[in-house]
Point group: C2
């Protein structure tokens, strides 16, 4: 029997998936599982987007334009311009989710064995995309104790080698909820210019910032036009993760042409999803105001409730809808599995994501979990109760 | 300014796209362009598929299951079972088009610098996917004179090296329309077993075979269970290229797990497209009978009409909806460009795909074009007229 590729053998499975069979078993036993483990929002998709698909007049569901239609990209550019970011339609390549966008951008920038510096903990699927391109991820560790702020220039420079091609950040961050300050981004910009590196900035959670904080986009640095690629997506913004529409945005025309080569090979992004996404761009401001109010309330509740549990520490998220929680256990993975296998409160339990899977450095995050606050406050309240009682029982 | 990856620099652009600016210019001059250059069928998408999307009750357009839902994959398995192929739901991974399926399968099987043998001429985007994975395509040349039948075992064995991991075929073939015989596939099976190679079989045109010919799937070889991966798609079968839904089918569980790692990183295939595709699987047999009758009539007309043009030779396609046509010119690319730039008959012209782009060996196919018979017979008749008059004028 012929063997599969070395690269496939070494590609990590999603850290969240390891626990899925245990969750399925729990459900088979009739236990209700509160899912705090995934970033699937419960917020309704804007009706405009859904209606546009219902009302689309289609005879032949044909290929669409590889980089997205002119009209769609014009509307996307307008969205950025409303945020005071200088993006033109021609700077945009529409992709099948931010996922495909990131994968194309990595392939366009890095060759096998090239190095990509990524602040850890980071979105676990970055490892998958890097693995698929034989790219080496070089983690730079952010600390729970500083709420995951960006390490200093000096720490970055220790990691830069002749093979370093790019730095990848996620802002606001999945999994930490950290929102980079203007100063931190300026520091990154300096590193990029000094060492001639690309900066990949995953900004799919751009709108999700709390306490009146302002999100700074890497697109706002004029001096960095040739160095910056932004990865974006409609998934979280309009609660339409299932559409699978994202964008690669860059003013570097050589890079854009390279991304387009990857895009041409796969012909076009999904047509229905583009119809929905184009309509979603007309979503009124009050939709976001309500969504933000809701997430803000959830975050406030969650952080306060978790901090009341003895031995539990929380990095207070400033954005996105995740937080990293430190538990008084040796192995958060063992605890998470135990919650699914052996614990229930009135026939309910919770599923959380062990955070070790978000670190690239072995041994880090062993006592941490990532919690996604994608449930209504009543369910969150219940979930935190279960977590507290579960922790008591686990430690007893 | 940092530089893009070597791999992106060397990835070929689609050979069809080179001519697109000339076609756009022609349209700007008010010239109607008959598109014989792309495989976008004009056949209507089954109403069932379109209706399923219109009537879908969706509140939150959520992520779907990475490998496609159990129900969807069961229906796909039933489709294969109706063709007497032993495929189980668990053998299937749903992908974003056959394109993504092929890309995942290549990544799961071949490491950088591994070799993939592909009969040429081949679907040009294979080069893109191979380039994205740093895989080396080793072409085995099929001859216009034998209508592109498969070369002998001996010819294959000359090309096999320790780095050869797989053979990729397209059956029925884009761009040649060739349908492999049972004997040829048995020969391929022998090579795969003897040299322990994977066979990737792109069978997206399975239903499109003419003159009562029978399509044999690589899935029908019981002895080859561990060696075969079939790439499939709803795009051509149900004229829904814009959906972007395909499948990877293999009974090799290790390989399937590897494909699933790539799939997990990108989360899920598009939700709307899966709704449409699941419904499309219920399309009645008479839809295909009509479609087949139509394509068969188009092919018959096209081949006869082309053969009447002095100096033009056609490889008679047995399947798919393409044929390779040899023209009495030195450079078919120059002629194709000239048709768009300098020729029109009553303000109409045609766009064809220069075939050199479908060959990996430099210098081959220079006097050939690929014609896609995806237009109604009246339009085809007109297009062939233009081609004939254009050729006369070009050669004058």
């Amino acid at each position: 029997m012929p063997s599969i590729s070395q690269k496939a053998m070494h590609m990590p499975s999603s850290p969240i998936r390891k626990l899925v069979p245990y969750a399925e078993d729990a459900k088979k036993r009739g236990v209700h599982v509160h899912h705090l483990n995934i970033g699937q929002p419960d917020i309704k998709t804007p009706e405009k987007a859904l209606r546009a698909v219902r009302e689309a007049k289609i005879d032949v569901l044909a290929y669409s334009r590889t980089e997205g239609s002119e009209v769609f990209r014009e509307k996307i550019a307008n969205y950025y311009q409303r945020l005071d970011l200088k993006v033109r339609a021609k700077d945009i390549v529409v992709t099948t989710g931010g996922s495909e966008g990131l994968s194309f951008a990595l392939g366009a920038l890095l060759d096998p064995n090239d190095e990509l510096i990524v602040p850890e903990p980071f979105y676990a699927n970055y490892s998958g995309f890097a693995g698929a391109h034989n790219i080496k991820i070089v983690p730079i560790t952010c600390s729970f104790d500083t709420q995951f702020s960006l390490p200093s220039i000096g720490e970055f420079e220790k990691l830069i080698t002749p093979r370093t091609k790019a730095i990848l950040i996620c802002n606001p961050s999945n999994p930490t909820g950290y929102v980079y300050s203007k100063e931190e981004l300026t520091q990154l910009a300096q590193i990029a210019l000094k060492h001639d590196l690309f900066i990949l900035s995953d900004e799919v959670y751009r709108e999700f910032v709390y306490d009146g904080a302002v999100h700074y986009s890497m697109l706002s640095f004029d001096a960095l036009k040739e160095h910056v690629v932004v990865i974006d997506s409609v998934s979280k913004r309009y609660s339409m993760c299932g559409a699978r529409i994202g964008f690669v945005v860059t003013q570097n025309s050589e890079l854009r042409a390279a991304v387009l080569k990857f895009a041409q090979a796969r012909l076009s992004p999904p047509t229905y999803a583009q119809i929905a996404s184009e309509a979603a761009l007309d979503t009124e401001a009050h939709y976001f105001e309500e969504v933000l109010r809701e997430y803000s309330a959830r975050r406030n509740f969650l952080v306060q409730a978790l901090q009341k549990i003895p031995g539990v520490q929380t990095a207070v998220p400033k954005g996105a809808f995740y937080c990293i929680v430190k538990l008084p256990v040796k192995s958060a993975e063992d605890f998470a599995q135990w919650l699914l296998e052996h614990f229930a409160l009135d026939n309910e339990t919770v599923m959380v994501a062990p955070a070790a899977g978000f670190y690239s450095t072995k041994g880090l995050g062993e006592d941490e979990v990532r919690i996604a606050y994608v449930l209504e406050i009543d369910a969150l309240k219940r979930a935190v109760d279960i977590l507290e009682k579960g922790l008591e029982a686990y430690l007893a």
